[in-house]
């Protein structure tokens, strides 16, 4: 009870971590996977990217995004080969290149985090006095990182038992990947008792070769410059075989202790506590290799004072606590109380946090400024779009009629209003498929979508009259469908059913009503929606795409004909197919970022704008708030391992927390007083009745 005197009553944390450098963060649902071969969503990356490290990372403070070595000793050297395995010069034309080989080198002396799996003798027998609560109670060990660990992880990606989400994609690129996974299936059937680590190590993958302990090479089909971006994702983080071996112990499996639960990495932190129903705790990894805070950054970064910690050894904090917080309201309130260090801004708390100055600049409200809160904004490298199914009879197809219908809809769908209502203005209306910050994006007048906008010292949406004219030209005079004599009925397929969806769907209907088209919303569940998309029976839908890596190929491939979802099972959900576009895409995808590439991209974007398979929607802007004691926050949309750069001023936090959380007792006393007052007449009546009955 003594602790209560100096700590606020409403402090949601139990341990007194006053002086320690701890980051308080949260998660809203249990991450499905912590195995780097399986994890593929941002909430999973928020944790595992701090634990597992791939070969390369994106520079924290430089824009445009730039890769730099992380576990690698240097950037890779790429050499090209023709069909007959003869080396080719780097200038060889794309068509001749049959294979590219990436030669990769690893920093010497890197060690894994302390982990019981490196105690080989613990693999079979665990000490009998161990209570199976924390694996860190077992004797720990470590080992130096070698090339085999990377190769082992690539084998794990290929292993059908792992079910890696990128296995299908990588099978198209890495030589021998597919054969390896087939062989593993056969092996597993033949020797069902064979343990995973032994099974994977017993075979070789043809395209992946170990040269020595610190060098290895990967061979991919054709020329695939984006491959290096994949190498910077946690999928390609090294994995020691001992980990698989250790976790195959049946006792651990029955206690739900697995590699998917307790990672084994080389990163700045390790997962010390994992209770995804309550909290997950990362602790500083004592074996972390020497990495220092960047000493250079772009202008914006140095202007914001982000270079103060330059040259300090990373990580800058000792502990990260992620607490479970499912609902946004408690999260926001706890952020304001100082119990979370950083927060996004939901559309509902926007007006409380952000205000615009008279000339439209974004700033914080005075309340926020008084609290010492800082704001970061960035346009995300993602797109939220409204797609037409190009296979549909009414809205799809490439005839003039269908094109005009889509163009008319493009004009009436007022995305500026959408952004202002549902995003509080946090978004940029998209002009084409490529978001700002990705090569190929053109700003200003040259970049506008001429189908929907004109330029008059800024974007101006074309008037409704033009949409009506286009609609009439498409054969729907005043929106009447000649086939039925009634207003044209279009269908919108969605699995959207949250509390906000009602207003969103109402808004959508309102947009179509402007040109007298009736929009029928076909709400359905996740399964049915996905199935409709796969079978191509949807008519219109909303979807989003988040960049995997900062290359225009990662966006343009969403419209590439051979990725059509209901034909080839790819990611082209609109099933858009345009021969000219496809040819340009194939040409563009292997090019470096040169002016010629820009020219091709502009051509592709213009073709797609005319065909209008999507209403390009908008690119959301990410706003985030952080308290004064939370330093070095900088929006970097590609890097996932940002936690190690963050610095905390625990003293300042303590002061603020105590200031903001002074308990107020008087309403409690007042409530008791009122209750007493209410009970008094009750007592008096009671006495009267008692007396009356006594008579």
């Amino acid at each position: 009870m003594a602790a209560c005197t100096d700590r606020a009553l409403n402090n949601p944390y139990v341990e007194g971590e006053g002086e320690e450098k701890v980051i308080y963060s949260s998660f809203s649902e249990r991450p499905k996977h912590l195995d780097p071969a399986k994890a593929y969503s941002s909430n999973e990356y928020a944790i595992i990217a701090q634990i597992y490290e791939p070969l390369f990372q994106y520079h924290y403070l430089k824009r445009p995004y730039q890769l730099e070595p992380l576990l690698a000793a240097a950037m890779p050297t790429v050499s090209y080969f023709d069909k007959h395995n003869n080396p080719l010069p780097n200038t060889a034309p794309d068509v001749d290149i049959a294979y590219s080989e990436y030669l990769l080198s690893i920093k010497a002396g890197t060690k894994f985090q302390p982990h019981p799996s490196f105690n080989i003798k613990r693999h079979d027998d665990l000490p009998s006095d161990w209570d199976a609560v924390s694996i860190y109670d077992l004797p720990l060990g470590t080992r130096e990182l070698i090339a085999d660990d990377f190769i082992y992880q690539i084998k794990r990606l290929a292993d059908p038992a792992t079910q890696s989400p990128i296995a299908g994609l990588m099978a198209n690129y890495i030589i021998g990947f597919n054969d390896f996974s087939k062989k593993q299936t056969a092996l597993k059937r033949q020797f069902p008792t064979l343990r995973k680590a032994q099974r994977l190590q017993s075979e070789k993958m043809f395209g992946v070769k170990k040269i020595d302990d610190h060098h290895f090479s990967i061979r991919v089909k054709g020329k695939y410059p984006q491959f290096i971006n994949w190498l910077a994702m946690p999928f390609f983080a090294p994995m020691p075989w001992e980990a698989d071996e250790f976790y195959s112990n049946p006792l651990l499996a029955s206690k739900n202790i697995s590699l998917d639960w307790y990672p084994v990495g080389t990163g700045p932190y390790f997962l010390a506590e994992n209770n995804p129903n309550r909290r997950m705790v990362l602790l500083k990894n004592q074996n972390f290799h020497d990495e220092y805070y960047p000493i250079e950054g772009d202008q914006a970064a140095s202007a914001q004072g982000l270079l103060k910690d330059a040259g300090k050894k990373l990580p800058l904090t000792d502990k990260v606590i992620f607490s479970l917080e499912k609902e946004s309201i408690p999260y926001w309130n706890k952020f304001l109380q100082g119990y979370y260090d950083a927060s996004g801004i939901s559309s509902d708390s926007f007006d409380q946090a952000v205000s615009f100055s008279a000339d439209g600049d974004i700033g914080l409200t005075t309340n926020m400024i008084e609290r010492g809160i800082g704001l970061q904004t960035a346009v995300t490298t993602s797109s939220y779009y409204f797609g037409f199914n190009m296979l549909n009879e009414v809205v799809g197809g490439y005839s003039d009629k269908a094109k005009k219908l889509r163009q008319a809809i493009s004009i009436v769908m007022d995305y500026e209003e959408y952004i202002s209502i549902f995003q509080n203005g946090r978004g940029v209306p998209a002009q084409g498929i490529i978001p700002p910050g990705i090569f190929g994006y053109i700003e200003g007048e040259l970049g506008i979508n001429p189908v929907v906008y004109t330029w008059d010292e800024g974007l101006v949406r074309r008037p409704i009259g033009q949409a009506k004219r286009l609609l009439a030209e498409a054969g729907y005079q005043k929106g009447i469908d000649p086939a039925t004599g009634k207003p044209l009925v279009l269908y919108f397929d969605t699995m959207d059913s949250g509390p906000d969806s009602k207003s969103r769907l109402n808004w959508l209907r309102k947009q179509f009503n402007k040109i007298n088209i009736q929009l029928v919303i076909r709400g359905t569940d996740y399964n049915r929606f996905q199935e409709k998309m796969r079978s191509g029976s949807a008519q219109m839908f909303m979807w989003g795409w988040n960049a995997d890596y900062p290359d225009p190929e990662n966006f343009l491939f969403l419209l590439y004909g051979k990725n059509a979802k209901s034909i080839y099972g790819g990611e082209n959900a609109a099933n858009y197919q345009n021969v000219q576009f496809d040819a340009l895409f194939e040409q563009m995808s292997t090019m470096a970022n040169t002016p010629e590439r820009q020219l091709i991209i502009s051509k592709m974007v213009a073709i797609a704008q005319q065909d209008a398979p999507w209403l390009w929607g908008f690119h959301p802007k990410a706003f985030s708030l952080h308290h004064g004691w939370y330093k070095n926050a900088y929006p970097n949309l590609m890097a996932n391992n940002k936690t190690k750069y963050i610095n905390i001023d625990p003293k300042l936090r303590q002061i603020y927390q105590n200031k903001w959380n002074k308990p107020t007792y008087w309403p409690l006393l007042l409530a008791m007083l009122i209750a007493a007052c209410l009970l008094l007449p009750a007592y008096i009546i009671y006495r009267r009745i008692e007396r009356a009955t006594a008579l």
Partner: protein
């Protein structure tokens, strides 16, 4: 009595079988094994091969209820239904579809749920009975009408509102308790204060009204009039006779929910960040994890039946007129 209990225990088996079949049918009418696989594998870059592979490994590649390709008994046994149901009857809940041991998960998550549910129930029933007794006591006075009005007001407010308002006033404005969070052991105290308080207040309206009806029912009986005529005071009648005789319906209400308490409450737990079982079933339904859904439904129905049995036994204890045979 003993015979009755034994008969009831045998009776558990068909109920559980029925529950199991119904759950199975409901689940697979809506989801196919393919859907489950896609849900688990995620959105991006999923191939049919990966889906088939997933089903093969989890045993969802078999036919649902009837395997045409097998011989004899195998036709029924080599199916998803049979393979997934047998273990349940010996309480081997198995591994969830995302690879976690279900029993371990449940035992870990039931304690926080109980930490909220038990105090809420105890204080809730106490508050409800007190309030209802007061209402009876002041029958046909302004106070009764005000109390009823309060009851109905409390009833007409959505549960979500209580939680949001409670967090706002007590956690944020007054800074008396944490807004949300949980800690095991004795530290849990400060975290459960607010949810328990909100649970009691939120249930007061309908609870007190319900108990009031029961009391009124009893108070209208002849013996109460007789007792009053004999000269017992209202208070004595109320406590000695009315309260005691109303125990049967009160017990029916309480005992049957006792075993289910550990299932937790979905909304309370999600708003307060309590690591309980409340959202376990819902999450499993939305992530289409059949293994968890069937285990939880099975467990729930088992406990429910135990609750019913306990109710019946408690009848005989409270009211000797009821015979179990």
């Amino acid at each position: 009595m003993i015979n009755y209990i034994i008969r009831r225990l045998f009776y558990v088996v068909p109920v559980l079988l029925g529950v199991n079949i119904l759950t199975f049918v409901l689940f697979f009418v809506v989801n196919t094994p393919d859907d489950m696989a896609r849900m688990q594998l995620g959105d991006k870059h999923v191939t049919q091969e990966a889906v088939d592979n997933w089903k093969q490994q989890r045993g969802y590649h078999l036919p649902l209820l009837w395997n045409e390709q097998e011989e004899g008994l195998q036709k029924a046994s080599n199916t998803i239904f049979f393979k997934k149901s047998v273990g349940l009857f010996v309480f081997d809940l198995g591994i969830s579809d995302n690879g976690r041991d279900i029993v371990a998960d449940i035992t870990q998550r039931m304690w926080p749920s109980l930490a909220i549910a038990i105090p809420s129930l105890i204080f809730g029933v106490l508050a409800n009975i007190t309030f209802a007794l007061l209402l009876i006591f002041y029958r046909s006075s302004v106070l009764e009408f005000a109390g009823l009005f309060l009851c109905i007001t409390l009833m007409s407010i959505s549960g979500l509102f209580y939680i949001i308002a409670g967090q706002y006033f007590i956690g944020k404005l007054l800074a008396l308790t944490p807004i949300s969070g949980y800690a095991p052991g004795i530290d849990a105290f400060k975290f459960i204060l607010l949810p328990v308080f909100i649970g009691v207040v939120g249930g007061l309206g309908s609870g007190a009204r319900w108990y009031r009806t029961l009391f009124l029912e009893e108070a209208a009986k002849d013996y109460v009039r007789t007792a009053k005529a004999k000269g017992l005071s209202d208070l004595q009648v109320l406590f000695r006779h009315v309260l005691k005789n109303t125990m049967i319906p009160i017990l029916t209400g309480i005992v049957v929910i006792l075993p289910l308490l550990f299932m937790g409450s979905l909304i309370t737990e999600s708003f307060f960040g309590i690591p309980g079982l409340g959202s376990y079933t819902i999450d499993a339904i939305s992530s289409q994890d059949f293994a968890i859904v069937r285990s939880m439904v099975f467990l729930g129905s088992f406990l429910y039946i135990i609750g019913l049995l306990m109710t019946d036994i408690s009848y005989t204890l409270v009211d000797p007129r009821v015979r179990l045979d």
